[in-house]
């Protein structure tokens, strides 16, 4: 399967601060990829670079096989809905579709108007008067109707109420089926992503902490509880992600490919949210060590 996004040592610096450090990724096509991490971790920066809106400071990136958009042909293959779903406040819904039609050779006008109709949007309504959820749906329609191969979404549902959130994801998943779309969407809430993502990237403190298929991640991460113990004494091959101790008890989140034989541990599976939290709660020192990428 071809990779939809390949990054090697990607980095971006703003004046003094590195927003993105040493990111190496290999994201396969045909998946819905979740990009999760706390605010300021670098998710928006990564997406902007992939969309071609920002130039990297270090490293390389390839999207759909070429460096991010140099030509209008490449722009047609990548869709992007930025944070807060930017739309032109003074333009009506219909005018947004006209904008898309006049600027995109691959524009699917029938699909766009069908989608607008089924969403119940009034074509004559100005975008500035729409609710947050409706604006997000409009921006998504404009991005989808040019029939991209890859769709990038920056926190698309962060500011939406639960119903709008659900409707947005429903429409997005339908589009994935209809258009055989690859999607990368970012969020700082794992719950948003759990339902829809089959590939996960955890970005903390400008670095990729872990990346891989959700099934594989869930199979290789475990929660260990047992008598109080020093986590540094674990055998090779068992990487401690997070540890917490009481007087008598130690709880560890561990990543390992091999089965755990030590009978002192109670091994339980770990949910995706707790897995992400474990990576997000690592100390600053641990978080800045480059983490091995987990391949499928």
């Amino acid at each position: 399967m071809t990779a939809v996004l390949k990054a090697q040592g990607l980095g971006k610096r703003y004046r003094r601060r590195w927003a993105l450090t040493d990111c190496t990724l290999d994201i396969p096509a045909g998946q819905v990829v979740g990009l999760v991490g706390p605010n300021g971790a670098g998710k928006t920066t990564l997406l902007h670079i992939a969309a071609g809106l920002l130039q990297p400071t270090a490293g390389t990136i390839e999207v759909l096989g070429t460096r991010p958009p140099a030509t209008s042909a490449q722009l047609a293959r990548v869709g992007f809905v930025a944070q807060d779903a930017p739309t032109y406040r003074g333009l009506t819904v219909a005018e947004h579709l006209h904008l898309g039609a006049s600027l995109n050779p691959g524009w699917d006008a029938a699909m766009a108007s069908d989608r607008i109709e089924s969403l119940g949007l009034d074509p004559r309504q100005r975008a500035g008067k729409l609710s947050g959820g409706q604006r997000a749906q409009l921006a998504l329609t404009v991005a989808l109707a040019k029939r991209p191969e890859l769709l990038l979404l920056d926190e698309p549902v962060a500011s939406l109420d639960p119903l709008a959130r659900r409707e947005f994801l429903q429409g997005l998943m339908q589009a994935v089926v209809d258009q055989r779309l690859s999607v990368v969407l970012s969020s700082h809430l794992v719950a948003d992503l759990e339902r829809v993502c089959d590939y996960l990237i955890v970005l903390v403190a400008s670095r990729v902490q872990v990346a891989g298929e959700v099934e594989h991640l869930l199979a290789t991460h475990h929660l260990l509880t047992g008598p109080r113990r020093n986590p540094a004494r674990l055998p090779e091959g068992q990487h401690v992600i997070s540890a917490s101790h009481t007087d008598r008890q130690t709880t560890l989140t561990v990543r390992t490919d091999a089965p755990i034989h030590d009978p002192a541990w109670v091994v339980s599976p770990i949910g995706l949210e707790d897995l992400v939290l474990a990576y997000m709660s690592r100390t600053a020192a641990a978080a800045s060590r480059p983490e091995l990428e987990v391949q499928r």
Binding site: Q31, V32, R166, L169, Q170, G171, L172, M173, Q174, V176, V177, D178, E194, R195, V196, C197, D198, G271
Partner: protein, 136 residues
Amino acid sequence: MRVSVIEFHLDAHSGVAPYLQLIHQVRQALRLGLLSEGDQLPTVRDVVGRLAINPNTVLKAYRELEYEGLVAARPGLGTFVTGTLGDGSPAAIAPLRRELQRWLGKARRAGLDEESIEALLLTTFRSTAEGEEEIA
């Protein structure tokens, strides 16, 4: 236009993987006679449009069911039920359900709450199954 016979639902907090929940619901529908041979399962598009889950999840569930011989995918048409489950024919199930509903009414009138009814059902079910095993 054919309307799908069953609708899926998802319990996000049950700890059971979504694709397993879908498989379970199809099997249950087959057992209860809600699905019979020739019926079409909801399209992947319809399922994700309702549940907002990853299409690969649905595909995986349908593939698993196909592997078990319960359904078959017909390219361009959809996924259709091809097999049956359970030994009870639909005709036998209806009177059993009615009897069960009557029993439930009796249990409630006797003053049992929902948890007690559930506990009674499960323990009796299990002990009866063990008893049958011993005999067999």
